[in-house]
Symmetry: C2
């Protein structure tokens, strides 16, 4: 059974929050690398998606590692994941944060299928750079499923392209 | 004793989250009004601060009430308060969200003293439009004190004006 059918929101929340223990946000060198490392993994394993990062379309993982832009961007995306995990058991707040995230990305004209795909990438990063249990991965995918559902609904309600 | 010395982060978190029960974010008319209402209160009681809202410098509370811009802005600020409350017991995530909030406001060149003042305004709104217990108010001010400390530190580290 998947966590979405067998686990409570609180259990999913706790599993996701726990999985980020070694990927804390912050201002130390380690904290900065926790976020930058996501983009190193992303650019190395999903080079086709670099197109969304204007000016960095040809960056290698090594370029990302040396980039202050991706230090900052890394903190932003890692913080977003911490927020999503922490508030998952407060359903309306979770969904409001999803809609806010979609609103902020409107200008990038992203393929709407990428919202679900993100969670494969993110769990791949967590697994590649530390340990992610099967249970934690399933929890993130359950969270991602709800993230995606609210995303597509909000895109539709905003008269933007969405996945049916 | 203030909550910051006598209460745990978890207790402060729970008090703040609870105080927002009747001010949920969302897409219903009531949810939208919960956010818009903050700006009605703000514009009515702190007219001098309207200067930060380009194009709305002379808005009355009634103007705000009819404004789609402040429906959206209201959701954004109310969501931010829900997020701050919900993650207060995860200190590094809380502080990272404070820094992110400061970064996003950089373009508005705000008086740095306003970061602490916000919590007087926000608790005033909660009290004016519902019930806020003394304990809940003290919890929000304890949260605000930490918000402000991280804000001023981050402003200083960003070479921006800050409150000493």
């Amino acid at each position: 059974m998947s966590p979405s059918s067998s686990s409570s929101r609180k259990e999913i929340r706790d599993l996701c929050v726990k999985s980020l223990d070694e990927k804390m946000v912050g201002t130390t060198e380690k904290n900065i690398e926790n976020g930058n490392g996501f983009y190193q993994y992303f650019f190395t394993n999903y080079p086709d998606l670099r197109v969304y990062f204007k000016g960095a379309e040809k960056y290698t993982g090594e370029d990302v590692k040396k980039s202050e832009r991706f230090d900052k961007q890394g903190q932003r995306i890692l913080l977003a994941c911490h927020l999503l995990a922490n508030v998952f058991d407060n359903e309306e707040v979770f969904k409001a944060y999803v809609r806010e995230t979609i609103n902020r990305h409107r200008i990038y004209k992203m393929d709407p299928a990428l919202w679900m795909a993100f969670f494969t990438v993110f769990t791949g990063y967590l697994n590649s750079s530390g340990s992610l249990t099967d249970e934690q991965r399933a929890a993130w995918m359950a969270l991602g499923k709800e993230f995606n559902e609210e995303s597509q609904l909000h895109l539709k309600n905003s008269n933007l392209p969405y996945v049916h």
